[in-house]
Amino acid sequence: MASVPAGHGSVPLPSSAKGRSSRSPAALLLRQLFRRRLVVLSFLVMLAILAVALLAPWITPFNPMKMDILGRLKPPTAAHWFGTDEYGRDVLSRVMLGARLSLLVGLLVVVVATLLGTLLGLAAGYIRPLDGLLMRLTDALMAFPDILLAIAFMAALGPSLYNVVLALGIVYTPRVARVVRAACLVVREMPFIEAATALGASTPRIVFLHILPNLMSPILVQATFIFAYAILTEAALSFLGVGVPPTTPTWGNMIASAQQYFQQADWLILFPGCAIVLTVLSLQIVGDGLRDALDPRLQKAK
């Protein structure tokens, strides 16, 4: 399904003359997406952060866990670009390792929320009797502010990386479900679905082979934003001490454990904070770019 995200006919042809070539939908999408320089830049930043996250165990300048009590709380120097923390550990190395976990949590949350949300949204959008019940359920889940619901789940499940993923996955599922349902309601009325039904296609075949590929653009856009929100919310949970336990550094719990020292050593919060902002900002810009590049038709149906 690699080339499907652009969807059948879901990419607006770039104004007349330019779009005459028979490029694949994915190539058209990328061209549309990279029209704005800021989006290109953000995309590159995202790739760079992702590369750091993937390679972190091999490329950190110091061992992120190695303590050096004599060299504790030292401001940034030529050797330690981001300074050292309360145990003398290299902050740059920990920020790099933190990228790994923060992005991992974000990515897994996207996977959980997108899978659950898509299934629920398709069920609500295609199976009429389920619609009312499922939508009231999403109403109920969305009646809690994100962070509060996540905290409540963490209280029940206990702090751990996978519980954070589960809690945030459930929190963001309704957002995907609503978008998928709205788009599904539009697509299911289209003539080609009627044709497929008339040809005797089974319900799963219609839903997954005919409807789902046409919903990929709104799902993709939503997934990008959820990635950004999940990183922010994970940071807040870890900051409160109910997220990922501090033994494994994430940007959020690095800031949390710096709370006692930051008044003298502001580099302890400055760098992990900048890492969060840079990541979330570039994700949001890419998300906005995607939304503009993809057909707005399906998203109008909210």
Partner: protein, 313 residues
Amino acid sequence: MLVYIVRRFAGMMVVMLLVAMVVFLIARVVPGDPAAVMLGSSATPEDIAALRGRLGLDEPLLTQFLLYLGQIVRFDLGESIFLNRPVAQALAERSELTGLLTMMSVGIAMLIGVPVGILSAAKRGGLVDQTAVGLAMLAASIPSFWIGLTLIKYLAVDHAWFPVAGYGPPDADLLERMRHLVLPAIALGIPNSALILRFTRTSMLDVMSHDYVRTARAKGLPPLVVVLKHALRNAMIPILTVIGLTTAVMIAGAIVTETVFGLPGVGNLIVSAVLRRDYPVIQGALLVVSAIYVLINLTVDLLYAVVDPRVRY
């Protein structure tokens, strides 16, 4: 109108019932025995049995839920395990601070978001607009707790312009207490101003593309009058919606902000309840905050008719 209110109210009740169900289930998905978890490792089997009895954990699940609903209807949120007082009382004691903090934050977010959003729409595509939209996106990407810590470091520690933390002495007057809330309100208000700004801008752009705005311009009215009198009034509905939404979100955002600034509000109560596994407090707080959230949304919908006389239900 009355029919509409009744219908919306009924819909709200259904949502609240489901909310109560979620809240009820959250304390039941705890791995292991909730009573044992709450009492910690030093508890004797008798203690656990006693707490199980008090919480009604030995009844069937449905009976437990119905009992719970019965309690809620009587505004009884149960007893805190650690604070030795009713949850409702504990919440009430802390609500002044959180309420004040939320109002101040909404005020700040509105004061930034609405005027800049209007300006941005009026100067669409210009330098001001691009800067404003860019800054809004940046603001929405910054964790509020990080803004809070940064403000503490540079404005309270380095310059002592504001108190570092806390809510002042218990007998402090309102103005003194508000002074303690200035930095927290900024930390919470800035990220949330971004959403208000973007909505205001979009809503204004939408309205300003209408014919009557062109007509108003064509007959030579000053641009300021056109923007503020003709466009703004019709752009108010989405703006109101987003302000309502933001208010609700900020009540939850206060959880994080209160922790940063060491403020004894509802958020602080929730966080310590989570760390101590004081489930009745967590459940009560969840229920109250989501009820406020739902009520705010309903109020905003009903306000539409006041703002826009064309809206009839």
